[in-house]
Symmetry: C2
Subunit: 426 residues, 2 copies
């Protein structure tokens, strides 16, 4: 079997990975980044800190792949033997790289410490290798070639360091060493409250394997992110194609669009409320503080967030938010009338411009035929800029009873979406 220039292999090294302490995050990261360059990770091998195992894993991949990433095991201690394993695979002795010694010494100097003798190990590389600087830790990486022709890129194991080195050193190198001489560019858009199935139905024609731009979707923590990777003869063409495709997808759901990229929905919405200067308050029952906790993930949100209320008991809804006893007796706490009264109470008690309330049945107990687990009412109140009576809407959602944590999370995300909509409308 001879190696495929475009195929990529990954060797992840670490005893901690073999002990089950945590999953290997480097291989998925490298796989998703390689897709941007039109290259596919074909095989990942995970081994412990063992010279023979590392060498044989590199050899196995060299028979199949044109590019091999090796991550981890570059530390200063005796059980870090990745340098030795790779040297054995490429059949070259190790030698100390003077530039790497300087890099490591600089790292210690900046930290106000003295380099230990142990750390000299971190400057070892197979003869003929090229250093790959690491601006994020003490372990430089290197690049070398396997006798069977594959290029081997050896990178540090901590994901923060590997990702930093990838951006700073590997990406520019990859851009220059494209197997097909084409340029790639990516663009993205993040949405809230958009189920993957709804997106796929509307965007269906674009979700094709081998399309250009290639469109992908990920859903995480209530955020749907779509990414387009375009391939073209020039960087400018590729960027324009990717941008155009993402803009057309964004145009399908203008109200649910958040930003190009959002990692934390609560912090993003909190930041938007602060940026737009819209003060808000919350009245939470079934979410029990989740919405407030999410929003306060944003630094500086205190400028627009004075207070909110977690009112679990009916008595608390009465005394803290002024929900009339009659509403609770006639309609119950999970009802349109109660959601409206809670939102109005939060608005009036706090003096904020907008307020959202959440009251529902998160389960597992407490559901009835009429009000099943998964039923959630939202109250959405905003002050009339003209000085009239507050405007109050309500919304009912019925989620499948897929566990207390999920119903609470969905309800909290929906409340965040309401807040964002209110703030943007002002």
């Amino acid at each position: 079997m001879s190696s495929e220039p475009a195929a990529v292999g990954v060797v992840s090294v670490g005893d901690e990975l073999m002990a089950g302490a945590h999953p290997d995050l480097n291989a998925p990261y490298l796989a998703s980044r390689m897709a941007e360059f039109g290259r596919r990770v074909e095989r990942v091998i995970v081994v412990g800190d063992d010279e023979e195992h590392i060498a044989s894993a590199v050899d196995a991949l060299a028979a199949r792949c044109g590019l091999i990433f090796v991550s981890g095991g570059l530390g200063p201690t005796l059980d870090d033997v990745t340098r030795h394993g790779v040297a054995r695979a490429v059949q070259r002795p190790l030698e100390e790289c003077p530039a790497a010694i300087e890099e490591i010494e600089g790292w210690f100097t900046r930290a106000g410490r003295v380099m230990l003798e142990n750390n000299r190990r971190q400057a070892l590389m197979p003869v003929g290798a090229t250093r790959v600087p690491n601006g994020f830790g003490t372990a430089p990486g290197f690049r070398c070639e396997h006798p069977q022709g594959a290029v081997i890129l050896v990178l540090p194991g901590p994901p923060r360091e590997l990702q930093g080195v990838f951006d700073a050193e590997v990406e520019p190198w990859l851009a220059e060493h494209r197997p097909d001489e084409l340029h790639r560019a990516r663009a993205s858009a993040a949405f809230v409250d958009l189920p993957e199935s709804t997106f796929a139905e509307a965007a269906g024609a674009w979700l094709e394997r081998g399309a250009n731009p290639l469109v992908g979707v990920t859903v995480k923590d209530g955020i749907l992110t779509t990414r387009a990777v375009a391939t073209a003869a020039t960087p400018g063409q590729a960027a324009a194609m990717a941008r155009e495709r993402v803009d057309s997808l964004r145009a399908l759901f203008p109200e649910r669009y958040l930003a190009e990229r959002v990692d934390d929905l609560g912090a993003f919405v909190g930041g938007e409320l602060q940026r737009l200067g819209v003060s808000f308050s919350l009245a939470e029952s079934c979410t029990g503080g989740l919405v407030a906790a999410s929003l306060t993930g944003a630094p500086g949100v205190s400028e627009v967030f004075a207070r909110s209320f977690v009112t679990y008991a009916n008595e608390a809804k009465r005394s803290e938010l002024g929900v009339p006893s009659k509403v609770l007796e006639e309609h119950g706490a999970v009802s349109e009338a109660c959601a409206r009264a809670m939102a109005l109470g939060a608005l009036e008690r706090s003096g904020a411009e907008v307020a959202v309330s959440v009251t529902g049945i998160a389960g597992p107990g407490g559901g009835t035929d009429e009000k099943p687990v998964g039923l959630v009412w939202f109250g959405i109140a905003s002050r009339d800029p003209g000085g009239g009576a507050p405007l109050i809407e309500a919304e009912e959602r019925r989620w499948p009873p897929l566990g207390r944590a999920r119903v609470r999370r969905w309800a909290a995300n929906r409340a965040l979406a309401h807040l964002l909509r209110l703030a943007r409308a002002r």
Copy 2:
């Protein structure tokens, strides 16, 4: 190279793993479970849904290992080809397993649906294989033997299903097929507010490789869990040894002990407060609702949790909790006096038996030399059972400024630990 009976290999299959959509969680799970049986996962290979790649990965591991797990790619669609890849590796044709057909039909009947023709694919196994029932999904697994002697266990890919099948089917099989004829047992203990370094210092003598019992530690979401795995000639001896070791570790930190195993600190503390019947309230500033949100992860906690307060602004601390203006002016919101007044206010406003307040500087901004980012004050109030004035304590913590999210999470976990201590003391 011939296979080592005790060495274990894992093949994780799935295009989604090669696309970087998410990390492989099955290999770490299998590695940590195998350690309980004194067996070591030596190599993990991750491949996409490709028959040749799966077969060659199994062959590569069969040369090194006595036991091979293959997970994923057992679904009903045409791109699920793990059965075909394994059949190719063991050089046997596939045939339909009647018991598996029955199992799949039963699954659909219970769900009130009709089995699709596609799902018949899920009953295919290499000739001579033994079915491994799956009580958690529609894809049965199987066990077969490689021509080089390794036993191959093929399991479903979704982690929930794989873990369920492991407990129900694989664990009993492994207990009977031990390479060394020894029995193993495990015991565990979970602690709150216990840094790994503090634990290691106190427990140092036991944290040895190759010790019996073998002691390991994991830290996740504020919970430190220690596990002991003992090896002995009889199951009873092993169980007693593991229990004794864990009990001795538990005795080092009696106040921080939670339970044998805790997955979610907030839900656990909420459950304990409910079980002990201690009503509580909260006054949160820098945690912004995190403590309330964590506690309400426990179903039924509404019985002892009527209300709590998220008071970000000074004005809210005054009006909602009755913090005196003088306290805020003279000491500021992040101070012992304010933390005490907030806890007292939450206690009195709610009528609860105990209340905890949190006020601090989560960052990244807002720190000063005197009050740096990471400084958090807690107020801890409890009603005097004798009817006297409430008892109020305060605590100061200074965490390293490692990011807003971490400071908030640490502060919330500490507040949970205070609540648990108060409830257990009543």
